[in-house]
Amino acid sequence: MLTEFGRVFIFLIIGAIFVAGGLITAWLVRPHRWYPGKLTSYECGEEPVGDSWVRFNIRFYVVALIFLIFDVEIVFLFPWAVVYQKLGLYAFIEMMIFLAILLVGYAYVWGKGDLDWDKPTPHIPVIKKQKPVEQAYAEEVTV
């Protein structure tokens, strides 16, 4: 009587038990002696500075938006893939039209450079090259 999703549900329960079991046994077994130093985030022995919740760059958001659109496209692909063998070439052409329309958007996003990971431009300090002393002296003499 177990349906396909019944199996998924059992996996879910086992997963929850697995995580909770590990945490609870650790809590039961470990010694409960804490001091503030234990609660700081560990970062290679360095004292953490500031907050861990920092502001993210906007470029993550653009990529996430583009991902979401293609995520929805994948959802449309699933029912097509199930019946593809039955309908054959007809379904294939239909899907290619569907994908071609979205490919226009992909080309647009690519062409506009939204997929490029814009790296911050480094400021490389330029040190003025100093002339050798003899040459500078010689120039001064000629003037």
Partner: protein
């Protein structure tokens, strides 16, 4: 209360509790993460309604996509932890009237609908097959139009979210 009811109440409980946390939490990050369980509980209810494709789509799009987007949105905001959430009661009388009317309409719909109650739980069948067939034959035009809608959404989203290159180039050059 049989087995199905138990599972239904479990998912309903998960959905409602996490939705309450989304609304009442003072920390916006906790709200965003709590929304994950709300979406998940709704997906579970979809499965119980024999809507397996919608359930999977819910997991794939909402949990996998929209939540990531929301989290990025939260992380893009200036302050994450100490956001002053202004919660107060404004316009109490109009709000309560609207709430009462909406609740009344919903209750009316609930009691007046002639529910087709099936006593025996029908065997779970995959809906993806029939969905795919309908997409490819009867509803071909809406299917292709959906692609155009996605295209518009993609172009529009990329255009709005894009950082203006002209402004970026105005940064002081050292």
């Amino acid at each position: 209360m049989n087995f199905y009811d138990t599972i239904f109440y479990f998912f309903a409980f998960v959905t409602l509790v996490s939705a309450a946390i989304v609304v009442f939490s003072k920390n916006i990050i906790y709200s965003a993460f709590s929304l994950l369980f709300t979406f998940f509980g709704v997906a579970g209810i979809y499965v119980l309604l024999n809507a397996d494709f919608i359930a999977v789509a819910q997991l794939l799009i909402y949990v996998g996509g929209i939540l990531v987007l929301l989290l990025f949105g939260v992380m893009l905001t200036n302050k994450v932890v100490s956001v002053e959430m202004k919660t107060g009661t404004l316009q109490t009388i109009p709000a309560s009237i609207i709430v009462a009317m909406t609740a009344g309409a919903l209750c009316g719909v609930f009691y007046m609908t002639d529910w087709k109650i099936v006593r025996s739980v029908p065997q779970m069948t995959t809906t993806a097959n029939s969905l795919g067939e309908m997409f490819m034959t009867t509803y071909l035009l809406p299917f292709e139009v959906a692609s155009v809608v996605l295209l518009v959404a993609l172009v529009g989203a990329a255009m709005i979210a894009r950082r203006d290159r002209a402004i970026q180039n105005l940064k002081p050059k050292i």
